[in-house]
Subunit: 108 residues, 2 copies
DNA sequence: AGTCTGTGCATAGACAGTCTAAGTATAGGC
DNA sequence: GCCTATACTTAGACTGTCTATGCACAGACT
């Protein structure tokens, strides 16, 4: 696996979290995650857009065409009620799991 | 993805870490990870054994047939020098990445 | 005029890893 | 006799991320 598959399994929850602060278009989601993480996280477009479609299909987010800050057409996504539930649940599970892994990795 | 694909990308480093305390056979590695994590982590055999072969092929671990604690034949794996390097590196990267994710997930 | 970079979306196909599920084999408990 | 636990093996499904490409438009720079 390419070294950067590290995103595997966390992209959804990251996108959901990003949208929890209000609607954003795809490109903005990617930029925001990368900047906020100090470039520690990189979001490839080939991963992001399929992920957005998946989550829309599952009813976690909704899309609406609009205008970006720069006046270009862009698809804005927003969390649905179900998406908010999903975010909550996934976030908790992710933290529980990574805590368990961390305990093992730092054990002596 | 089945809800339990959460192991994705962390199985290798967990196995390497387990072996850092000495040789163990596959079955014991799985049991140990599950117990130590309080059943938070579950290691399927269909994931574990292919992972062991992969890591052996990559020179991170070495195998040797022996006898288990219960007197049954079992394949014992031990870390190679390269495996120790790999563990160190992967562990650091994993922690950096999950820290970045965590910061986002707990942000308000 | 032409090129380059940045914005923004879309999608095909490769790739890799985990999972389910089945099988082998042995041993002990009921 | 059957069930559970130990211990390894492997085929195939599944899914998600990646690379790579394409479209479209705008502004900057030469």
């Amino acid at each position: 696996m390419p070294p950067k598959d590290r995103l595997h399994g966390t992209l959804d929850v990251l996108v959901l979290k990003t949208l929890s602060w209000g609607p954003r278009h795809g490109y903005a989601i990617a930029r925001w995650l990368e900047e906020t993480s100090g470039e520690e996280i990189s979001v490839e477009e080939g991963s992001l857009y399929p992920a957005l479609y998946r989550m829309e299909r599952r009813g976690w987010i909704e899309a609406e065409w609009g205008m970006s800050e720069l006046g270009r057409k862009a698809k804005f996504y927003s969390l649905t009620r179900e998406g908010r539930r999903q975010l909550q649940q996934e976030s908790v599970e992710w933290q529980r799991f990574t805590q368990a892994v961390l305990r093992i990795l730092v054990a002596t």
